[in-house]
């Protein structure tokens, strides 16, 4: 395949940045999208142009590092991570525009790399169950209903990539937030801190500059792990309960 790539180049956070066009040939449809970028970077290195910076690590769809806006869609045209997207989803001769996540809370560091440390700070605000090492009771002493445990697992699969934020016109991280609230809230171990957790995490979310949710649903459509929209309903419900309880 031959492709025309329009890629966002930005030297540093202060640089204004802009799209630059590259022609790339010899792309096979079995390549992953990131392997296609590897080929481009090898070519740039040969011609003396600095390779394109992009975040990536596990390349098997689980670490959440990769984060590209491809033709205006977070992670591109398939429901998957950028690293699991393969070139068979594109056509010979196609022009592909590649940009970083766009959100106030995710400032660009360089080229396609953004700063997503806001997610860590939301977790720091309460995205955990307080259980010091060594203090745990016997694992089977507290049964967890299977349906609730299954729901907890399904939403705990969030990889923290930020596609939900990038896809949301409001730049809201409500899906990320709702997934963690639902995961911990569905388990018996998560009950003692349930009210405080949601109040504190929502406050941190807002302080980081993420926008509010207006039920558009782009987040769940873009989510590579298919986290369902009802985690946001759960988030709102838990928040109402917490407020009623005086948080």
């Amino acid at each position: 395949m031959n492709l025309t790539l329009k890629i966002w180049r930005q030297q540093n956070p202060a640089d204004k940045g802009g799209l630059k066009t590259y022609e790339l040939g010899g792309v096979s449809e079995d390549m992953s999208f990131l392997e296609m970028l590897d080929v481009l970077n090898e070519q740039l290195n040969e011609t003396g142009e600095e390779p394109v910076a992009f975040d990536h690590d596990c390349r098997e769809g689980i670490c959440g590092s990769c984060a590209l806006m491809i033709d205006g869609q977070a992670h591109g045209p398939e429901v998957t991570t950028t690293c699991q997207l393969h070139m068979r989803s594109f056509k010979d001769g196609q022009t592909i525009t590649i940009e970083p996540w766009r959100a106030d809370a995710f400032p660009v560091i360089k080229d396609l790399v953004t700063d997503r440390s806001a997610f860590d700070r939301i977790i720091q605000a309460g995205g955990y169950i307080s259980a010091n090492t060594g203090s745990a009771p016997e694992a089977n002493s507290v049964p967890a209903p299977r349906d609730k445990a299954t729901r907890a697992f399904n939403v705990a699969t969030c990889i923290g990539c930020g596609a939900c934020v990038a896809a949301c016109p409001n730049g809201s991280a409500s899906l990320f937030l709702g997934a963690k609230i639902t995961h911990l809230g569905e388990l018996p171990q998560g009950q003692p801190e349930r009210d405080g957790r949601v109040a504190s995490m929502v406050a941190q979310h807002d302080a980081e500059g993420f926008g509010g949710c207006t039920n558009i649903g782009e987040c769940t459509a873009a989510c590579p792990k298919e986290i369902p929209l009802d985690v946001i309903s759960q988030l709102n419900k838990d928040l109402r309960t917490a407020i009623r309880h005086g948080h």
């Binding site: 540093n12 096979s28 079995d30 392997e35 590897d38 080929v39 090898e42 290195n45 040969e46 003396g48 600095e50 390779p51 910076a53 975040d55 990536h56 690590d57 596990c58 390349r59 098997e60 769809g61 689980i62 670490c63 959440g64 398939e78 699991q84 560091i109 360089k110 790399v113 700063d115 997503r116 440390s117 860590d120 977790i123 720091q124 995205g127 955990y128 169950i129 307080s130 259980a131 010091n132 090492t133 060594g134 745990a136 009771p137 016997e138 694992a139 089977n140 049964p143 967890a144 209903p145 445990a149 299954t150 907890a152 697992f153 705990a156 699969t157 990889i159 923290g160 388990l187 171990q189």
Partner: protein
């Protein structure tokens, strides 16, 4: 364990090995024997309890005055950061990723072992210990392994308390499955994403400590040097990968939890950023590297599709519980649609050769037999070069037996992943799999306290060598990472820190200045060679050499050849490397250059270690050491020792120190899975 005898651990059951062969003559220097200075004694079941009591305590008021650096935020590093933070130590945590949550433990799929015996199927701490020592082909330290089995049950308790959503039965209790060549069901799992869920548990516990102020996290930071003052580890030099700034961080103790070095093979199931730099820099500063040639090749990976391949993807070997592995009996059937090949023309070779274990034989056997049938020309899938490198993993019988819904429930995310990568639907067409490098059992040498031979330098998880011997059982990597991080290190490092806080050293100390200057010089060198080749191209070439000559099967001739090739490659690297960009910004080519430089040096040492070890053992097969039937042949009388290599200087030869492996609780036996 039928026919095995229980021993109380009071007397040795084997004699120290005496090596008579010397294949690596001329490539190394013989050093003094090595003895673990803190090795425990007495009945094996009491050793850890006794040691925990004997190890000194640190007064809670003193803990906040003690600084501990932890490099890496996977299961071993993240769990240690959380636990030491909870205890009140002042922890600094480093990772190269943009968040601690992205460390590569996250990609582990299958599960985590624990001797809970919830299935009442005959499991016990002793059986997990026995299986692990046997699985490691009697090349691990028995005291360490017993401790691992012992604390395994605490790990499950801890993770459940943190909210890890393990699979459960309808009654709400935890479910288990049998995994990877084991006849009891002791593996806890969270569908095919167990590593992710365990890591998020450790990450969340660690973030809680960040909020509490006991842990400071440095993300997008890479350790590039160890600071050693008067023979003691006192800090690290790290590069801020965003600003490019070279920083020094000083501490009372340094913990390396930086993972394994499987990426020395270029293609592996490791994440792209996984590297040996933290441990290799420590090695160059004097830390011994133990059994570097012990590599695990995982049998169930998605085969290579072409030259562009950047990494390999593992499919959890839990798939082997229900999938049946086969290749065509006839070479001419290899390019046919597998569904058109009748039952009588299929060779279910693992079931045929190993009727007792069938498709659940250990990883090394499954891998080697896959290679054997492909070498015979009976591989399947696309031709890469002249070979078809793949075998079928077929779920047709499982779907008939259990129904598609149950198969979907168990393996859906793995099947999805497979289809996404290959474009084929495994519910309809049998999967194709091939072995790939997955894990390394080798790593920095540590004593029973997980302390290296450099005082103050501790090493945990995959980065150390201690628990898996020459091969690791499935679902035991997660167990070891969390055992080290939550329960072992916190109970051993306190004995070291009880002597602290140590005299403060300053930024202008000679040892600090020297370490910092060497890092700055190295960065400058990478940027100024200005040759013609990318670091990536050297990495790919190194990987080819390692896979060909130091992979699943090794020979004396091949290893000698590989050493020569690596030495040439190293020369070429330092004269023809091309790194663009600057030192004072995010520069991924620069990061890569440093990692590849260290991989090249490691590769040479791995080949020397493999050359010296003239035996087939655990995960590796040495052509010169096999039975008449072509099975692996171990030589306990020569090689029942840990090979701990000391850095021999820039142009010197590495120095080999041997630590004898003496068993008191288990008798060594040749493995037989037939």
């Amino acid at each position: 364990m039928a026919g095995s005898t229980l021993h109380d651990g009071s007397s040795p059951l084997n004699q120290a090995a005496k090596q008579t062969s010397d294949d690596a003559h001329g490539y190394y220097v013989a050093g003094e024997p090595l003895v673990d200075p803190v090795t425990p004694t007495g009945p094996i079941a009491d050793r850890w309890t006794t040691r925990r009591f004997e190890n000194r305590l640190v007064n809670p008021a003193n803990r906040r005055k003690l600084d501990v650096i932890i490099v890496g935020t996977g299961l071993a590093g993240g769990a240690a950061a959380a636990t030491l933070g909870e205890a009140g130590y002042n922890v600094k945590s480093f990772c190269y990723q943009d968040s601690p949550r992205r460390a590569h433990s996250i990609a582990a799929q299958g599960g985590i072992n624990a001797a809970k015996n919830y299935k009442e199927d005959g499991d016990s701490v002793f059986r997990l210990f026995y299986d692990t020592v046997k699985g490691g082909d009697y090349r691990s330290r028995e005291s360490n392994v017993y401790r691992l089995a012992e604390v395994s049950t605490n790990i499950i308790d801890q993770c459940v308390a943190q909210g890890v959503p393990f699979a459960r039965e309808y009654g709400g209790l935890l479910d288990n499955r049998s995994f990877g060549g084991v006849q009891v069901s002791r593996t806890f799992y969270a569908r095919g994403q167990t590593g992710q869920q365990l890591l998020l548990g450790a990450y969340q516990a660690m973030e809680r400590q960040v909020a509490a102020g006991t842990v400071t996290q440095y993300t997008r930071h890479e350790m590039l040097e160890l600071i050693v003052k008067d023979g003691v580890a006192r800090g690290i030099v790290a590069r801020d990968l965003v600003s490019g700034e070279i920083e020094t961080h000083l501490a009372d103790a340094v913990v390396l939890a930086s993972g394994g070095y499987g990426n020395v093979f270029f293609l592996s199931t490791n994440a792209m950023g996984c590297n040996v730099t933290a441990t290799w820099r420590a090695h160059r500063k004097g830390a011994y590297m133990a059994n570097p040639c012990y590599t695990q090749i995982h049998p169930t990976c998605i085969p290579v599709s072409g030259e562009h391949q950047s990494k390999l993807t593992l499919m959890s070997e839990s798939l082997r519980n229900d999938g049946r592995i086969w290749v065509p009996k006839k070479v001419e059937d290899c390019d046919k649609d597998p569904r058109d090949i009748p039952e009588e023309d299929r060779d279910y070779y693992l079931e045929r050769i190993y009727p007792a274990f069938g498709n659940l034989v250990p990883r090394d056997i499954a891998s080697r037999q896959a290679k054997n049938v492909c070498d015979e020309g009976r591989g399947v899938g696309p031709l890469v070069g002249d070979f078809r490198r793949g075998v079928y993993l077929d779920f047709t019988d499982a779907i008939e037996r259990m129904g598609a819904d149950v198969v979907k429930e168990k393996y859906d995310n793995l099947f999805d992943m497979y289809e996404r990568i290959t474009g084929e639907n495994p519910y309809e067409v049998p999967m194709r799999i091939y072995p790939a490098v997955h894990y390394v059992m080798g790593g920095l040498w540590v004593d029973y306290h997980l302390q290296s031979n450099i005082p103050g330098l501790f090493v945990t998880g995959e980065a150390n060598f201690s628990d898996h011997g020459a091969n690791r059982l499935g679902a035991s990597a997660l167990m070891q990472g969390l055992a080290d991080g939550y329960f072992v290190l916190p109970n051993t490092i306190r004995d070291y820190l009880a002597d602290g806080p140590f005299e403060k050293i300053t930024e202008d100390d000679e040892a600090v200045v020297e370490a910092r200057r060497s890092v700055e010089k190295r960065v400058e060198t990478f940027l100024s060679i200005n040759g013609s080749r990318s670091a990536d191209s050297y990495h790919r070439e190194l990987g080819h050499i390692m896979w060909e000559y130091c992979g699943m099967e090794r020979s004396e001739e091949g290893l000698r050849k590989a050493i020569d090739m690596i030495r040439e490659l190293k020369k070429d690297f330092w004269t023809d490397l091309k790194v663009l960009g600057t030192a004072d910004s995010l520069n991924q080519s620069l990061e890569k250059a440093g990692r590849v430089a260290d991989f090249i040096e490691l590769g040479e040492l791995m080949c020397i270690d493999a050359l010296n070890r003239r035996e087939s053992c655990g995960g590796h097969f040495r052509a010169e050491s096999q039975t008449e039937e072509g099975e692996a042949l171990r030589h306990d009388e020569e090689f029942a020792y840990v090979a701990a290599w000391e850095f021999g200087g820039e142009d010197g030869s590495p120095v080999l120190h041997k630590e004898d492996l003496i068993y008191t609780a288990i008798e060594m036996k040749q493995r037989s899975y037939k």
